[in-house]
């Protein structure tokens, strides 16, 4: 098939492009999650993940320590560098949170107390703020925010701030600077990523234990239902007995049973027969809940195998057991692999069943429980952790997917029958 001559390249280009498009569409959300997993919770809520790649213009509040205040006439002066001990580049600054980029670096930003004439004629005092170049003298605006004319000559300098691009600043105030003043600068924040979230997950107590527990739950809970279902599927597909149709119908019907219905009665049952909350219990539970889908998928696949091959094996003297193990099972690899992937995913990501059927002590926690109950900040708000957890737990299933994908092969049946 890959051998066919003259396959059109244009078609393959279109195919490639559309797959790329689809993949990108599919990835956008996931990439978002991935990026978020390297960010702290605050960053996640502050800016979009797509912005996180680039540095962001961000306004921050800096409160320089009020050491070394000098006196200059009526005014108190504080000067220094805003990025004490670090470096940065200021693209704007201000003295209130409302206008953190009111002035450009090199300018002076000043606040004056002034008198204004209100529309009704009364004179009121208010404040005006304006920026001017450091070398030139500032011109006072003639109106305040509301458009009232300023009474000329009434101005008194409240405070002023001058910040250079490298962070050098001079802060002048008419009152003593005892508390650290709040200076707002707008700077380019470098992208900030850390492995903090991952570290928190990976290094938390007993994580290894939880990992092993998860495997202990997952592996048998994947293999056992497959095994049981494969036998049942074979019987339903290739063996002749009364009630076959009814059983098939029943399996389809049971596919839809909501899990929640079954939890309480089953746990009661487990307690009654002495299994209690244990690994055995959770295997059985996963097996029971996974079986309908497994039988359904496998049966449908097996029915499609060429009849002649199975008959041939029977003529060769194989019993049903041998036909199943030697012929049907190997030929059903694609279906087995697909189902294995799904059952694995399902048990791997499961939280509900693990919580119900395993003891609640931390000794028997699986990873999902560990993450949900132990790591996630209270009430599940920590998106960073959640994102990292999602990626930590994605790794193994993806590995399984890769490992299994090679069984989803083409032409397994090629050459067997005409």
């Amino acid at each position: 098939m890959d051998n066919i001559a003259g396959q059109k390249t244009s078609l393959s280009v279109v195919t490639n492009l559309s797959v790329i498009l689809l993949v990108i569409l599919w990835l956008i959300p996931t990439v978002g999650l991935l990026v978020s997993s390297f960010r702290s919770n605050d960053q996640i809520t502050a800016s979009g993940w797509w912005d996180s790649m680039f540095g962001v213009e961000e306004s921050i509040r800096i409160s320089p320590e009020p050491d070394g205040v000098t006196r200059d006439g009526d005014y108190y002066v504080l000067s220094g560098n805003l990025f004490a001990g670090g470096s940065g580049s200021v693209s704007g600054f201000g003295i209130t949170a409302v206008a953190p980029d009111a002035a450009e670096p090199g300018q002076v930003y000043a606040r004056y107390s002034v008198d204004v004439t209100e529309p009704d004629g009364t004179v009121d005092d208010t404040r005006v703020e304006f920026a001017y170049d450091a070398d030139g003298a500032g011109t006072l605006p003639t109106e305040d925010d509301e458009g009232n004319p300023v009474v000329a000559g009434s101005e008194v300098l409240d405070r002023s701030l001058q910040v250079a691009e490298n962070g050098d600043f001079t802060y002048i105030s008419d009152s003593d600077i005892r508390r650290a003043p709040s200076v707002y600068v707008t700077t380019l924040q470098p992208p900030s990523f850390s492995l903090q979230n991952y570290q928190q997950i990976m290094t938390s107590d007993n994580m290894d234990r939880a990992f092993i527990n998860t495997l202990t739950v997952t592996i048998p809970a994947t293999i056992i239902p497959i095994l049981i279902a494969a036998f049942a599927a074979y019987a339903l597909a290739w063996m002749d007995f009364a009630g076959r149709g009814f059983l098939i119908a029943m399996v389809v019907g049971l596919l839809v049973v909501p899990l929640q219905l079954a939890l309480v009665p089953l746990l009661q049952l487990h307690n009654r027969i002495g299994i209690g909350q244990s690994f055995l219990g959770i295997w059985l539970a996963h097996t029971g809940f996974g079986l309908p889908l497994a039988i359904y998928l496998l049966r449908n696949y097996m029915v499609g195998l060429p009849r002649d091959i199975i008959e041939s094996a029977k003529v060769d003297g194989a019993t049903d057991f041998q036909v199943f193990t030697k012929i049907v099972l190997p030929l059903s690899f694609p279906a087995l692999a697909s189902f294995a992937i799904f059952q694995f995913l399902w048990t791997w990501n499961d939280l509900l069943i693990a919580k119900v059927f395993l003891p609640s002590n931390s000794e028997s926690w699986v990873m999902t429980v560990k993450i949900a109950d132990d790591l996630l900040g209270s009430r599940g708000g920590d998106w960073g952790i959640l994102a990292a957890a999602a990626f930590v737990s994605i790794a193994v299933p993806l590995f399984v997917f890769f490992a299994m994908q090679k069984y989803l092969v083409r032409g397994l049946l090629a050459g067997s029958v005409k």
Binding site: D308, S312, A313, K314, V315, D316, Q322, G415, S416, V417
Partner: protein, 365 residues
Amino acid sequence: MANLKLKDVAKTYGGTINVLKDINLDIKQGELIVFVGPSGCGKSTLLRMIAGLEKITRGTLEIDGQVVNNVPPAQRGIAMVFQSYALYPHMTVRDNMSFALKIAKKSPAEIEAAVAKAAKILQLDDYLDRLPKALSGGQRQRVAIGRSIVRDPKVYLFDEPLSNLDAALRVATRIEIAQLKESMPDSTMIYVTHDQVEAMTLATRIVVLANKGIAQVGSPLDLYERPNGEFVAQFIGSPAMNLLPGEVIGTGPQTTVKMGNGGVAVSDYPTQESDMGRHVKVGVRPEDFLEVATGVDFIFNGKVNITEALGEVTLLYFEKEEGAADPVIAKLPGIHTGLRGTEVKLGATPQKVHLFADGKSLLYR
């Protein structure tokens, strides 16, 4: 070891499609029975019923006196070559062939030997480690044959085992099968084929299936020389026997028949007075026709439409007469060229002239 007895066996697919009915057949241990019949007449179906792969709708199948209608295939002691090969796609050629032996818990050495032997016979040595998908059609078929001959079953069932093989290999394999049969005189074989030569050379008896039932059973020569009706007469032998209409004009131990356009046929078939004037079909095999000189009695004369030179013989296709289903064909020994478009007169010796009335042979009444 194995006598087979089919009693009133019938097969219906899906309740309505009637494929076979009233099949009665005794197969003795050691026989090699060949099923022939037109495509779709139910040969494979019959074989599959014997194998136990298809339920018998009505009637019984006995193996060695035991009714086995409900015995599963594995317990019937049979080996089968499927028309569709039915190779195990996930196993190499070697594994395909040794599968049955492994199931039977034979020792590895034994298996190895059996496989090697079969591979040699079937010229598959070079392919033992390939998967079926990397084989040619003929190679796949050989694997399918190999799979059955490595075993030692009571009954062999072959469904057109040689159809994809080249002539040389076909002859060789046919002879292998004959020898296999000879070396195991006790085993019973049932063989479906479309190849006349295969049928003729291999069969102890041939079963001709037609029209949902058995048309005739007999030894190859029987069928060839004494077909019980027009169907068998035309089915056995290739090209098929020519059937020409005529009217009985002389009876007795030999019968004389007046043909159309002036010909006269004399047959060794005996007839009675009462047959006088009866409309019959005169059957002459293409290879039994002889060119006769003008003036001599001829059975048929006509204009040659096509000639096919096959080397040792030449086939003459005559122009089809009105009303006739098929053109008359003659097979003359040697190479004849330049006959196309000429008029040729044909006759035959009385032993070789068959007579049929109402589709039945006048020999069998």
